[in-house]
């Protein structure tokens, strides 16, 4: 490799370094972020939208909404369906069941799933109502 080429490559190396790293990440959006409440959900009237926002931040890691499998059961078609619990009993999923499952997950345990769902009783009432509405909307 000629000296010229080596010099050129060194130049490229340092150019990538300088452009990439010197401006400490200038490509991001510098405008102030949307004002959000504690859970990062924009204050917004529609409960389904509130629920969807929380879902995408806090539930989507474990629950899908397209029927595919995850750590926990999918939300698609969950509302109104009949599900079997670990103790063999069956439940028709309604608003009360969702409420209980979200705020006190140790009290409800679906058959065939590990009992690892965290409790979300730190969410506000509006937020939980939003989640329930969102899951209902996926009926």
């Amino acid at each position: 490799m000629s000296r010229k080429l080596t010099g050129g490559l060194l130049l490229v190396f340092f150019a990538v370094l300088a452009i990439g790293y010197a401006g400490v990440m200038p490509f991001g959006d510098d405008s102030p972020r949307e004002v959000t409440d504690d859970n990062g959900v924009a204050a917004n009237g529609d409960p389904v939208e509130v629920g969807e926002a929380i879902y995408s931040q806090q539930c989507s890691g474990c629950h899908t909404i397209d029927g595919s499998s995850g750590v926990g059961p999918t939300f698609q078609g969950l509302y109104g369906s009949e599900v079997t619990m670990e103790d063999g009993s069956t439940v028709i999923v309604d608003g009360d069941h969702l409420l209980l499952a979200i705020t006190d997950p140790r009290a409800t345990n679906r058959e065939g799933y590990p009992d690892v769902m965290p409790s979300f009783d730190n969410l506000s009432e509006d937020e939980i109502a939003g989640l329930v509405a969102f899951i209902e909307s996926l009926e």
Partner: protein
């Protein structure tokens, strides 16, 4: 050159028939092949992870059932198999050359190879069956099939077999040379492995005492927090077990390869002793956000982490001095003229020079991670893989490729295939990883999580799109570079054997000259290996006993979960 220096350096004179026996050299080749195979496969999987971010998901995710199965493969193959295999191979060889004698035990040499291969095959099988998708950190309460933990035992035992062999070799040498200074190359080899021997105790206790019995059903429950603490007792020091074999090349071979000389024997010993002492009592810097651990102890480990940065700073200046020495001898003038006078047409050197350049950035970002409060900003974000692809993924991996450019031709006695391609390989990797890590790190600063299938995520923040594109582009450039490396290796393998004495001479390994300040000026106390091992052990106790006292009694209450 003084006579005393010549005697201690007798190791550098070549007596291959005597030092390099067939029974041992095949294990050195075998370890290296296993290591490079892991690098090839693991790196290839890396590409899928990178392009997944721009929503190119080859169905099913690569050859795997899910993202995490691939990611576990990537982590295990690269962080454990690639690095262990290379260390076993290269440091066994520097031990032989350092002490000027074969390794003490054929059985241990061969056992080490079979354990590495066995552990790799077992691990690969159980990962392929998707029974151990627990990522390379295998945190409880995620529970893998017991075979996975068994594979981990095999891999660690393989390094222990090499450790035992190195220690026995040192003792055999010592018996014959009761008063001589330990040859420098032997010294750096043995301190590297003693450090790892101590460090690996944490993970040994974790796997044998907790995870293996738990996965076999002998214990029902486990204590994830205790497990994490034991894991990280090993887990920070392991990065120095990845790095020190490469430092051996930087201290021992690079000065020779650039036509310069190492500055000081004593300083080199000092640096390796610092690594022996301070690599391990720093593990809590990976657990800054963990509950149940006293903040005061976290702060102590934080301070010790800054102590362990110091020998790497010495290394930077020492190696730079050797480079400048070589560059000026080759006629380089002025402040930077010596840089262009370095052998930029030797791929073995270029790969390692670029690795060093990239490593400066790895060091800086490492300080970000280590700073307790700043860590909170980047903890578990994509910043972290951004950081360690600069360190293990380049400072180590690219240096290993550079070492292979002379070590493999030497082992095979065949000239390197297309040094030009090898040069392009090195440049592409270095430039590729700068782009890749820039993407990961800016994503991380914008709160992008690591270990996440981002292309599928239903959320996104401003800045992520650019970050993902940079990661993907850089990752593809690195993959192309990796392919070039294997083309060069396969070409070398297919080359004709060197026949004439000149041809063979050209393949001679770059053995070190004595440093400018040689061993006669070094403090004798540096050579008291048993003493330093004891001090290192005591430091571990000081750093960890309070952590455990404040934590115990252990809570064995977590059943295993399978989250994949």
């Amino acid at each position: 050159m003084s006579t005393a220096a010549t005697t201690v350096n007798h190791a550098a004179t070549r007596d291959e028939a005597h030092v390099e026996t067939d029974q041992q050299m095949w294990t050195i080749k075998g370890q290296l092949i296993t290591s490079l195979a892991a690098l090839g496969l693991g790196g290839f999987i890396g590409m899928f992870q990178a392009i997944e971010r721009i929503q190119i998901t080859l169905p099913p995710f690569g050859p795997f059932e899910n993202y995490y199965q691939g990611l576990t493969f990537h982590g295990v193959l690269l962080a454990f198999v690639f690095t262990f295999g290379f260390a076993n191979s290269f440091v066994s060889w520097t031990t032989m050359r350092g002490f000027g004698r074969p390794l003490r035990s054929n059985m241990l040499a061969q056992g080490s190879f079979w354990l590495l291969l066995g552990g790799t095959v077992l691990g690969a099988i159980i990962l392929t069956l998707n029974e151990a998708t627990v990522l390379f950190t295998f945190y409880a309460p995620m529970q893998a099939h017991s075979t996975f933990y068994l594979a981990a035992v095999f891999l660690v035992l393989s390094t222990w077999a090499t450790l035992a062999n190195i220690v026995l070799t040192y003792r055999a040498w010592r018996a014959e040379h009761p008063t001589e200074a330990v040859p420098l190359m032997g010294f750096v080899s043995i301190t590297t492995y003693i450090m790892w021997g101590l460090a690996s105790l944490g993970v040994a206790i974790l796997v044998l005492g907790m995870l293996l019995p738990w996965s076999l059903g002998i214990m029902d429950n486990t204590d994830p927090q205790l497990g994490r603490t034991l894991f990280w007792l090993t887990g920070h020091a392991i990065v120095y077990f990845w790095l020190l074999p490469v430092y051996i090349s930087w201290y021992m071979m690079i000065p020779k390869q650039v036509g310069g000389r190492l500055y000081s024997d004593g300083l080199t010993r000092f640096v390796f002793i610092l690594f022996l002492l301070f690599s391990i009592p720093t593990g809590l810097h990976h657990q800054y956000t963990d509950p149940g651990i006293h903040e005061g102890m976290k702060s102590i480990h934080l301070l010790l982490t800054f102590v362990i940065f110091y020998p790497s700073l010495i290394t930077a200046f020492t190696i730079m001095a050797a480079l400048e020495h070589g560059g000026r001898r080759a006629g380089g003038k002025g402040l930077f003229g010596w840089v262009m006078a370095l052998p930029w047409n030797n791929p073995a050197v270029v790969a390692q020079l670029l690795a060093m350049l990239v490593f400066t950035l790895g060091g800086v970002t490492g300080l970000v991670n280590a700073s307790l409060t700043v860590n909170m900003v980047i903890h578990n974000t994509a910043f972290v893989p951004g950081h360690f692809h600069l360190t293990v993924g380049t400072a180590v991996a690219l240096s290993v490729l550079g070492i292979c450019y002379w070590f493999v031709p030497y082992l095979l006695q065949k000239p390197l295939f297309s040094p030009k391609l090898a040069l392009w390989q090195a440049w592409l990797w270095a430039i590729g990883v700068l782009i890749f890590s820039r993407g990961q790190m800016s994503g991380g600063l914008d709160a992008q999580p690591r270990r996440t299938m981002l292309g599928e995520a239903s959320y996104s923040l401003p800045g992520w799109e650019v970050a993902n594109w940079l990661t993907a582009i850089g990752g593809v450039v690195m993959t192309i570079s990796g392919l070039l490396f294997f083309v060069v290796m396969i070409g070398t393998f297919l080359n004709k054997r060197a026949e004439t004495p000149e041809e063979r001479g050209a393949l001679d390994p770059p053995m070190p000259d004595p440093p400018i300040h040689d061993h006669r000026k070094s403090w004798k106390v540096f050579d008291r290996l048993g003493f330093w091992t004891l001090v290192a052990f005591i430091l571990i106790l000081i750093a960890y006993i309070p952590v455990l006292m404040l934590y115990l009694p252990a809570e064995f209450s977590s059943p295993g979960v399978r989250v994949w």
